[in-house]
């Protein structure tokens, strides 16, 4: 068979083109944020949720060599929580983050910081981890809409440290305080379709904190008639609509 360099160049151009096209096909999927019904649609995650013990963003990026030890340590521990960041933000390319907390949250086994060879993840205690901050969507949470549900607090590895309950007529009303480390176990074990808890980065929390607190205080001070209208008028239909999402998740 006659195979000249020209043929090869042609072939490689075709192969390169195919690769570019295939990655191009992925591009829309990359840039279109998941449109799945999630909690708190108004609040963005605000970056990447890093594995536990990560240094501040800038230092973390400068130290991480994308060796994949944390990803594979997580795999060996059978949690599979850590993924490698793609091209959405070029600075973050190749660095690890917790991708799908709904299915694969961090279990705070603290093995990845123990094994990180670069020092980008530092060995610290569970309680001092600052991966992010879990926010409850008061409009979706069962506990805020006339139910008693303790799923999130039972799943939480820090438990009583993190959860404040404001028991009342409208349910057990859980509130996650700032001791939250952002592991996402509550996101995983929320019985609502698409979860009623969202974990955002610490920097994002600093931005949205005020609004979130105002929302919380307004709900706490709300008179019963008005609360009735909110729960039965807006929230419950929304919650029931998510039942189908839960079915899909279970499938």
């Amino acid at each position: 068979m006659d195979f000249t360099r020209r043929d090869f160049l042609k072939l490689s151009v075709i192969a390169g083109g195919a690769l570019t096209v295939s990655s191009g096909l992925y591009l829309p999927r990359i840039f279109a944020a998941d449109k799945e019904l999630g909690p708190l649609p108004g609040i963005d995650v605000g970056g990447l949720i890093r594995p536990p013990g990560a240094l501040p963003e800038r230092e973390f990026r400068s130290k991480c060599i994308s060796c994949g030890v944390c990803v594979n340590v997580c795999r060996v521990m059978k949690y599979d929580a850590i993924a490698i960041a793609g091209l959405r933000d070029l600075r973050n390319f190749g660095t690890p983050y917790i991708k799908e907390m709904r299915d694969f949250p961090c279990y705070l086994c603290m093995e990845c910081p123990k094994h990180c060879p670069t020092g980008a993840l530092q060995k610290i205690e569970k309680e001092k981890v600052t991966m992010g901050m879990a926010l409850i969507d008061f409009g979706l949470c069962f506990g805020w809409n006339g139910d008693i549900c303790l799923s999130c607090s039972k799943a939480c590895p820090l438990g009583a440290l993190v959860f404040d309950f404001h028991h009342g007529t409208w349910g057990n009303q859980p509130y996650i305080n700032e001791k939250c480390v952002g592991c996402g176990l509550c996101v995983r074990y929320c019985p609502l379709g698409g979860s009623a808890v969202k974990v955002v980065t610490r920097s994002q929390y600093a931005i949205v904190k005020e609004d979130y607190l105002i929302k919380f205080k307004r709900l706490m001070a709300m008179p019963d008639e008005e609360r009735y209208a909110v729960v039965y008028g807006q929230n419950l239909p929304e919650i029931i609509a998510r039942g189908r999402l839960l079915e899909r998740e279970h499938r």
């Binding site: 990655s23 800038r58 230092e59 994308s66 994949g68 060879p117």
Partner: protein
Amino acid sequence: MTKIGRYFKVKLSKLRRFVLLGIIILFLLQFFGVKALVGGLTGSVAVWFVKLIDVFAYFESLIASKDFTMTAFWAVLPAIALYLIFGRAFCGWVCPMDFLYEIVNRIKDKRQGSGVGSQKKTIADKISPKIGYVVAMLLIVISALISIPFFTNYISHLTNFFRTLTGGVFLALDLPVEPVVVVYSLSVITALLVLEYIYPRLWCRALCPVGKTYGLFNKVSLLKLKFVEGECGECNLCEQMCYMNVKIARNIDRPGLRDTNCIYCGRCVEGCETKGKLIKLSLKRVKEL
């Protein structure tokens, strides 16, 4: 044949592939929960205890972060110790690209109908291997400027090879992974293979900063090329077999050779007319080197 080869009657080229296969299998076992070797060749954890980090990656990370940590230092020490013993043998024995390149070269030989080792010299052979140090310095400077280990994160064949592996396995098992990472990493590896097809071993000999760093260890490593005094037929087969352009034949009257480009693949040992009596890979001390 080396001593090991003599005991087990294995050819060096076969032994080399066994070593590579063994290491890749150890890395693959991590996906099934075996804690033998976890991570990739840029950084890994051996037997769940010893952290290892690639020397060039260490420097890049160090310079990019402008911060010294004991964690990384303790991880690079065992790596340095390994290379003080084996020199640049990493390239020939452990690096998966060496194997992939060999396959590419076999395909090329078949297509062009010429024998192994008799490939035409391309313009790439005129490029001085010293350019690699400039490339490495440049990459380090870029890393310092953008505060990200540039080569290791984006270009490195080792990172990308293991990202492809891990990503592929995660895709197959439906675990969290961004497919674009796999596509990117696979593209980089493909691009390197295309480069290999056009300019054989240009990457290894002149460009790869990882190999260049290990090459420096060749100057002091225990492992070296040892030449035994004897009848050299001056057939020049050793130099023809060597794809790293090490000048073996013209140094054959010396006791040994420490060349920063030698990857201790042993092809010269096998290629030699005397079948390994003249050239040897030796860990023993050689006088006047």
